[in-house]
């Protein structure tokens, strides 16, 4: 087993382990913190796929932004520790049916697909290309996304702002 495989599997374990804790933990704060490992592992997998820009953006947006937001949300909820998370099984039969159908489909696709493997291409600079493309070919989507975000920002500020003469 070479180094690449070891690193791949360790990141995979981090991702899946984090995800498992998110789903199975009865403590909602633990679930939220476990997301960190899931996001981090995914970022690592992106790096192994030579998508360095995507990996770092993943860290920046998901760990630095969304996860913090989730944590704030969880922590600001009153009586965080009293939240009862239901993990019992209900409607066992339909659930088993649906899950096994889904799993069967996925495994079927996984086996029947003709996976083409090629040698990994050399690492190349992606940031400059992404930047150029964002400002040329994909300028319109980029600008629309910016405007949407700006609108969301202004909306949030408006909601949070205390009415002065109300």
């Amino acid at each position: 087993m070479d180094l690449f495989t070891i690193i791949f599997y360790s990141f995979a374990v981090i991702t899946l382990g984090g995800g498992a804790v998110v789903v199975f933990s009865r403590n909602i704060v633990h679930s939220a913190f476990a997301l960190l490992f899931a996001f981090f592992g995914v970022a690592g997998l992106y790096v192994l796929l030579m998508a360095d820009f995507l990996a770092i953006t993943q860290l920046m947006i998901y760990v630095g932004g969304i996860l913090v937001l989730i944590l704030f949300g969880v922590m600001l909820t009153s009586q965080v520790l009293d939240v009862q998370i239901k993990t019992g099984t209900i409607q066992t039969f339909p659930a088993v049916l649906a899950v096994s159908a889904l799993a069967g489909t996925l495994v079927g696709i996984f086996w029947s697909t003709d996976w083409k493997t090629t040698a990994a291409p050399p690492m190349e600079v992606t940031a400059a290309k992404i930047g150029e493309m964002l400002l040329t070919s994909y300028l319109l989507p980029f600008e629309i996304a910016s405007v949407v975000l700006l609108a969301a920002l202004i909306g949030a500020a408006m909601i949070a702002r205390r009415e002065k003469n109300a």
């Binding site: 913190f33 920046m60 944590l71």
Partner: protein, 348 residues
């Protein structure tokens, strides 16, 4: 650096482990020196003398402190979330330490020569944010929680001016890789990005006011990112006991402490690499080369560490609203202006 190690040891896990441990060889002695510097400078600024009995003028005091911390009982509050409580300090240190991977110590040494250097630095610091939140939450102490909430709010707010001021330097150097940015500024004092970089004279003169502003703002935002005075609201002793590390003792506290000092140098290193030429010699070709490069980088970095200590013992703490005012209403608009102006000057 990795090529050298790979040639010596072959392509094995060992190479990566050694490569990952190398910055530790710098961070640990640096923390010892920085503790002494902090104590001595703070004492002398208040006309005191600080340690005098451990070794010559108390130089061995940090060593004694470390030995004491190692022996201390490691207490965990009974009602704490024990698992998160244990994990948090390591996460905080990891966030700081991982940043050293992208810091070019000399022309011959940088942890990983990735193209997205500064971007990576900005992103990886969010690990510390989560660690701080974890510490505050797991301590089950309202001061800790207040401290960590403040800390997170502050770090996220100041990431905007920090990122924007980094952008100014990146626009001039044309690369996100700190090694490239450092190389770009080679050739002496006048080529540093604070002074406009190695561009035609007219452009340099036009750029100078904006680069200087961005440089100042980067340093201010950097101080805020590592939670030092005057932005030390997360651990404001007078209000919050010790903030997020109130409940920590012994080795775990030592790791928080180490992370703080590591971050101090990291911020200084970023400022130096982006605006003050990194490892390049201020005298041009005199005293340049990999070894001298390391010397220059560390010397410049230490100057900024000293500057942080100096500021700490000069300025009082900001109020929360002043903190946010500074970030959003002063630093950010000025940086937008800087980015606009620098872009315009570079295009024309």
């Amino acid at each position: 650096m990795y090529e050298l190690l790979q040639n010596l040891l072959g392509d094995s896990l060992l190479v990566y482990v050694i490569g990952a441990a190398l910055p530790l060889l710098f961070v640990l002695p640096f923390a010892v020196v920085a503790v002494l510097l902090e104590m001595k400078v703070s004492a002398h600024m208040q006309d005191r003398v600080a340690y005098m009995y451990t070794g010559w003028h108390g130089v061995l005091q940090p060593v004694a402190d470390i030995l004491k911390l190692l022996q201390k009982e490691d207490t965990i509050p009974a009602a704490a979330d024990k698992f998160l409580f244990r994990v948090a300090p390591f996460l905080v240190f990891m966030g700081g330490y991982a940043g050293f991977a992208a810091l070019p110590f000399s022309s011959a040494y940088i942890g990983t020569n990735i193209d997205l250097g500064v971007f990576y630095l900005l992103a990886i610091s969010s690990l510390s944010v989560i660690g701080l939140m974890m510490a505050g939450w797991a301590s089950n102490n309202k001061w800790s929680l207040f401290g960590s909430m403040r800390s997170v709010g502050q770090i996220i707010s100041y990431e905007i001016p920090a990122a924007l001021s980094i952008l100014v330097a990146v626009m001039i150097a044309g690369s996100l890789n700190l090694q490239e940015v450092s190389k770009f500024q080679d050739g002496g004092l006048q080529n540093w990005i604070v002074f406009g970089g190695p561009l035609p004279l007219l452009q340099k003169i036009l750029l100078f006011p904006f680069t200087l502003t961005a440089f100042f703002i980067l340093f201010i935002a950097g101080i805020a990112e590592v939670n030092r005075t005057p932005f030390d609201l997360p651990e404001a002793e007078s209000e919050l006991v010790q903030g997020y590390n109130t409940e920590y003792s012994g080795m775990k506290f030592a790791i928080f402490y180490l992370a703080e000092f590591a971050n101090m140098f990291l911020v200084s290193g970023i400022v130096v690499s982006l605006y003050l030429g990194g490892w390049t010699s201020p005298l041009g070709d005199v005293m340049s080369g990999p070894i001298w490069g390391f010397f220059w980088f560390v010397a410049k970095g230490m100057f900024f560490v000293f500057l942080q200590v100096w500021i700490r013992w000069t300025l009082p703490r900001l109020r929360v609203d002043q903190l946010m005012y500074t970030s959003w209403k002063v630093l950010t608009p000025f940086l937008f202006l800087c980015i606009f102006a620098v872009g315009l000057i570079l295009v024309l």
